[in-house]
């Protein structure tokens, strides 16, 4: 499957920065502004969270942005409408992250069709288990050209990682420690894990997420795998209020800092 994500990973000359923001946060209609700012200031992938009342894998910061976004009136239907509007001005890949229940209520096939039409490249559904994916949805995602991005954790066995590598596409989302989003991470433990991931020589690229908040963390991870995903730290930055474009520029510049150098491996 050739799409914006596969193209990005084939062409990239610097560490990949996947920036997460909850759709409809901080304002219902700020989604497009956030996306444009992230694209303009150096994000490589935009991951939009579809807010849910019960985000089990998320820590307090993203829980907060979820509840604000829901109060603002965000829903899958509203988001897909917004994405349809913004799509012509987006050239970097956009992926959607969300929990299974709201998608099931919207209708999985309708969701795939409309997301694909609105320019979405991939999906992350953390509570969709592999067994259900294979039985129910694999063909549908393929039909609509949507990459399905699986999570792995330091506790995921090699056999299971290999299976995920054959089933998933786009990239593999490696959770940096067995934790909810935004938790502090142990760098030494993490380096051993990163080295193990690198040695697996997977078919899919790997991005590491959960607990990354600064340049040091980003560049450390990028020396082992293709890049990283940052969410909670950015939401916190947005939470302080102010001009979205200015905050985003400052944030992404801080993360990138010296990580702009071409990769040597």
């Amino acid at each position: 499957m050739q799409n914006k994500l596969t193209h990005l990973f084939e062409q990239h000359h610097r560490p990949i920065l996947n920036m997460y923001c909850t759709a409809g946060y901080p304002e219902l209609n700020s989604t497009g502004e956030v996306m444009k700012a992230l694209q303009a200031h150096g994000a490589d992938i935009i991951e939009l969270g579809m807010p849910y009342s019960d985000p089990l894998a998320d820590g307090p910061v993203i829980q907060f942005s979820n509840s604000i976004a829901l109060q603002n009136g965000m829903s899958i239907a509203v988001l897909l409408e917004q994405l349809l509007q913004i799509n012509p001005s987006m050239h970097i890949p956009v992926i959607l992250m969300g929990y299974l229940n709201p998608i099931l209520q919207f209708g999985m096939e309708k969701f795939c069709r409309e997301a694909s039409a609105a320019g979405v490249t991939g999906l992350i559904i953390p509570d969709l288990p592999m067994h259900e994916f294979e039985n129910e949805y694999q063909d549908m995602f393929l039909q609509y050209g949507l990459c399905f991005i699986f999570l792995i954790s330091p506790e995921t066995s090699e056999a299971r990682i290999r299976k995920i590598d054959t089933l998933g596409s786009g990239f593999i989302y490696a959770v940096s420690s067995s934790a909810t989003t935004g938790q502090a991470i142990d760098m030494q433990q993490q380096e051993a894990y990163l080295a193990r991931l690198k040695s697996l020589q997977l078919r899919n690229p790997i991005l590491v997420g959960f607990g990354i908040k600064d340049h040091a963390g980003f560049s450390k991870i990028s020396s082992y795998v293709q890049g990283a995903i940052i969410g909670s730290a950015y939401i916190l930055a947005l939470r302080s209020g102010g001009d979205i474009s200015t905050i985003t520029k400052e944030f992404v510049n801080t993360i990138r800092e010296k990580a702009e150098l071409p990769k040597t491996n």
Partner: protein, 393 residues
Amino acid sequence: MNFSVNEYGYYGNFGGAFIPEMLYPNVKQLQDSYIDIMEDPAFQLEFQQLLKDYVGRPTPLFFAEHLSKQWNTNIYLKREDLCHTGAHKINNTIGQVLLAKRLGKTRIIAETGAGQHGVATATVCALMGLPCVVYMGEKDMARQASNVARMKMLGATVVPVSSGSKTLKDATNEAIRDWINHAADTHYIIGSVVGPHPYPDMVARFQSVISAEIKSQLLERTGNELPTHVIACVGGGSNAAGAFYHFLNDDQVQLIAVEAAGCGIDSGKSAATTQLGTMGILHGSKSLLMQTADGQVTEPHSISAGLDYPGIGPLHAHLFESGRARFLWATDDEAMAAAMHLSKTAGIIPALESAHALHALTQLEWKPSDVVVICLSGRGDKDLDTYMKNLPS
């Protein structure tokens, strides 16, 4: 009809294990080992011994004379309120703690609504010398203050949960997040027949002692081990699962589940999931769920903290869909009246949860030959504040 789970944890259309990858190793380990551990004779010996000597089982099956006369039938109360800690919840927590020890886990977490499951977990952790953290909604901590004090006295850490509706649903979310953050050393004792497979089946098996005892006690009393009706309240549904378990395949036994209708089914303040819910996924399993058209989980209401939950165990969703069990409901006021009535006529102050089951007596027609067993799942000490507000001065 089949009322057992299949290998993926489904009862008919409901169940499964919808969990993030971070929990997969823990849940998989449980799935692969729970039956073997539970069927191990050494495990059974230890479990049964504790149920007898520590919990006080078997609990009596009490013939409620006044109620029987009132309804011109035969009404028995299964006295789970006489279990140590005051409710059926401890049947499951003892089982799961023993199982956690065999899995090498050194830390226990739990969620609690009314506090009964939290107290039961804190109790067995104190007995076994394991550290215990209980997540409880702030709203529930206020209305079940005596149970909070008990948990603290038993050495547990009670963590207030202030997200969402500040009740059982949110306490469960926080417990799951804790488990994600401490997956290696921690066992999560879910208190009801909810959660990812194997929890619904595992908890039902631990609670099935209730119906096993009802069978042998009825046989002794009446010469027939089968009642005509078994009635139990359902929030998540653990006491109902235990009371129904050994009767599921006895079609002549009518199974009656009573949900909490709060201020009324259509009041917008209710917790009657089968009446108001649709198929959805919450806390790791596919079941019936109270939710908006957008799939956001709605905030339920019941006067009883233990029934204040927007979902229902997948077994019960299957019993509802298949028609094997009949689902009734009681409002806050009806449960209150049933509690007052039992207190005055039988000298038993029931938990508000159990009072919902008692209300079913007023909703059905009874024959003199009927043998009706009501699961009196807990005692009312924890609800005294609520009861006092409703006492005539």
